[in-house]
Amino acid sequence: MNILSDLLPGWFDPLLGILIIPLAAAVILAMVPNYRISAALNVAAAFGSLGCAVTLLFERPPPHAFLLVDDFNIVFILLNTFVGFTTSAFSASYIAHELEIGRLTAWHLRFYHAMFQLMLFGMNLALVANNIGLMWVAVELATLTTVLMVGIYRTHEALEAAWKYFILGSVGIALALFGTILVYLAARPVIGEGMDAMVWTTLVDHARGLDPSLLNVAFVFLLLGYGTKVGLAPLHAWLPDAHAEGPTPISAVLSGLLLNVALYALLRFKILIAANASAIAPGPLLIGLGLLSLIFAGFMLYRRRDIKRMFAYSSIEHMGIIVFAFGMAGPLGNLAGLLQMTMHSLTKSAIFFTVGHVAQVKGTQRMADMGGLTTTHPLLGWLLVAGVAAIAGLPPFGVFTSEFLIVTTTFAREPILAVLFILGLLLAFGALLLRLTDVAFGEVKGPVGPVHASYLPVIAHLSLVLVAGIWLPPPLVVWFQHVAALLG
């Protein structure tokens, strides 16, 4: 097991590696003019981070004041770096096409690659942070870089989307910071002033002694703040526009990674609350928001005409499912939520990769103008079908497993909620089916040029999801069960 660590020199700390590599790459990429080199460097840097993350799997460093690797974040670190790697591979070919058709210039691409790595840095930092202030800074950095990238096309719609995202995101950030300050205030009389009162591991150790009412209010602010980043209705207004108007790799990263990172931050605080017995359990609030997002998104899916916008609402729906699962809590509920987070990330990014190819071929994002994909581009068409089947929750894909778990645990405890939940799922299923049969099957519409990019990232993601649906690796299950217990 330690072959990898034997191969690396003793001074190389993989934990610092996943932080320093993206940061250094961002600096370098800002200076490289040739887009082919920068695309290659992008992929290389992402691969380096992935390698470090894999090393972390085998050898976990002890927690220290600022950074921490435990059962909860190891999976997400791995997932983050993996999806970052595949997205950079996808983006390398996708962006070349954008340059060709003139939507982006070479200067934009420098900016884009540098921001991409900076965003990966931010997300990695947020995942490994042990200090709640540091975590906040990292989430904010990741959001700001994505805001800049969403507006990169500089059209009317892109600017409006980026502006809305910026404003709502900033408000969310501010509320989340206020919540963080309140947590510090609660911790101060117990742990003392200074840095110690912001260290998450210390906070959890002393959680029983913290003032429960202050923690409750702090959690409400954190839920509102980080919840805006997660895209929960009614704070979701930025999400569809940002997904539709930004470049496709960014949509993939937003849906697949950023939403997860924001939710991860929220869950860290949920663990803190769960450790304090007298704090009000946030279950009902989470269930309410989750169901609201699920059903609202389910209805909205029916009227979408733009394909990326539709999948953006699908992301809102899945985030609703996940938050609902965490609201139900209990060992099965939490496990299902964690599993869903992982599966959704892989599936949604795969879908966005496919959609990116489709949009490039057809030259448009309107679903009315594209059709008959399986006839003209069989591999692309069937990959899209597989992706949609996965996201809609059909077996044998992994998403089905987690949704099934949620349904069973909800039925056992609150049958009415289970009915509402299934209603939401069916709504989304119906909408996806309705809209996408025309795109995948049916008569051929739109241009039928060749696709200029590789299908490897999509195939990699979807096969992982398929495998997970059939067999989950035991260590993963153990970690998730442990975290589920912590989440209370």
Binding site: V137, A162, F166, S170, A174, F178, L185, D241, R305, R366
Partner: protein, 220 residues
Amino acid sequence: MHGIDFDIAHMLAGLLVLMSFLMLYQVRLLPLLNVLAAHAFVLSLSVSWQAYIQHAPHLFITAGIALVFKAIIVPMVLRRMVVRMGIHREIETVVSIGLTMLAGLGLVALSLEVMLPLTAGAEPVVREDIALALSVVLIGLLMMVTRRNAVSQVVGFMSLENGINLAATGARGMPLVVEISVAFSVLIAFIVIGIFLFRIRERFDTVDVGVMDEFRGGRQ
């Protein structure tokens, strides 16, 4: 009743809330920017006082940043942008000023009601700073919601940030990491704002967000 420490902290925090109301009251853009500068100035005074009574010299840096950056540079640059774009005409607010101010007062009362009982165990200075900081944050939010012009929304956001700053410095002993992060975020936020406002200017001949909404693709 309370020492001079509390009195001055209370006065400065109260002044900050007053500045927020003054911001709500302004109808024209250029005086609004002046009030923004005054807001940041009062914040820097408040942070300096906190630095003094908490014996935390690193807070003086935060006060300095608030003074130089937020009270001088940002309003100056915004003023130049506003004049260049030619939008120093009347701001159209969504709701009338009277109602907005009443709503603001309601928010102040709400935040006092919520925060004062919660922090019952802490010292008086901390308690009232946190409570008044939440009022400033909520009034900043109200301002963002009731304005249509992009520049005034940004001004509302900056006052919100100032409120968060007040809360962070009021909580005794909050580590430097967070303070630098707050300053850091304002810097980056402003750069982004600047880029956006300029880009918006290139695309439209107005920064009226209502006009921008016409281009939304959400109804597709």
